[in-house]
Symmetry: C2
Subunit: 143 residues, 2 copies
Amino acid sequence: MNKMLELLSESLKSNGHSLTKTREKVFLALLDREPQTMADLANSVGGKVDRASVYRTIALFEKLGITERLQIGWKYKIELSDTFAAHHHHITCTNCNKTQVFEETSILEFELKQIAQEAGYTEVGHQLEIRGLCTSCQHKVIK
Amino acid sequence: MNKMLELLSESLKSNGHSLTKTREKVFLALLDREPQTMADLANSVGGKVDRASVYRTIALFEKLGITERLQIGWKYKIELSDTFAAHHHHITCTNCNKTQVFEETSILEFELKQIAQEAGYTEVGHQLEIRGLCTSCQHKVIK
DNA sequence: CTACATGCAAAGAGTTTGCAGCCCA
DNA sequence: TGGGCTGCAAACTCTTTGCATGTAG
């Protein structure tokens, strides 16, 4: 836990930024949580932090690779990047919207690197979302 | 070309909607084009169509599976779905934002089905975006 | 003809910016 | 102490909605 904050501090400082109270609060609001929308995040940050600061903080975090923006269904959400959580992706039920996490296989990982390379790119990361019907919705009539 | 419009008409009518001039214009503005933001789209639609109508049209198209919304870099963009274009994904340069298309390999396709199945889901579709540095940006200093 | 679609205008979200005062290194 | 941060408020952009009118089938 403290280790996470150290990692954060390091990441900030090595890029010429400081670890402020606001940034710490935003970071903690993301730690061990499901991906959140900006609105969620603004709420879950303990001790009022202005929305504008949340936006500014997330913009910075993204630039430094501390957080990632991902598409779940319709709107985007924010979550900590792989440095602070195991690398994973999401599978979402198109009917009930339930989201579940899955780890990436090494085959998949290899394939993606391969594709990037063939296109002449150096892979930095990727975002993957699988959409499908979950176990319980497979037996339901889709509205 | 006319074939595409027929497909569109069919898709609309089989769901109780009609093929209007506005819908045709929006559709044509998407055909054989790169993914576009809503703003792009509102502009590229020939003959003024109200932004509100563009939004309503896209909402309908998405519900019918005619278009897809995808995340490219920071903002989402719209493109025609696989019915109207070959199945593909995008690789985006994190520095200059250049986007390039790549076809999916069968290994990748298989892997994704596999993962969904293991999670107990019936795969419906997926969205994948690779981020990396393109050839020319690999030799530049990142701002 | 009639129900659905569209344009217009206005309301609501979501996001960004300028600036004065505050806080971290 | 000084430059970077933050809160506040206002400006903007993006998206949705209500309503009167137009139009496809």
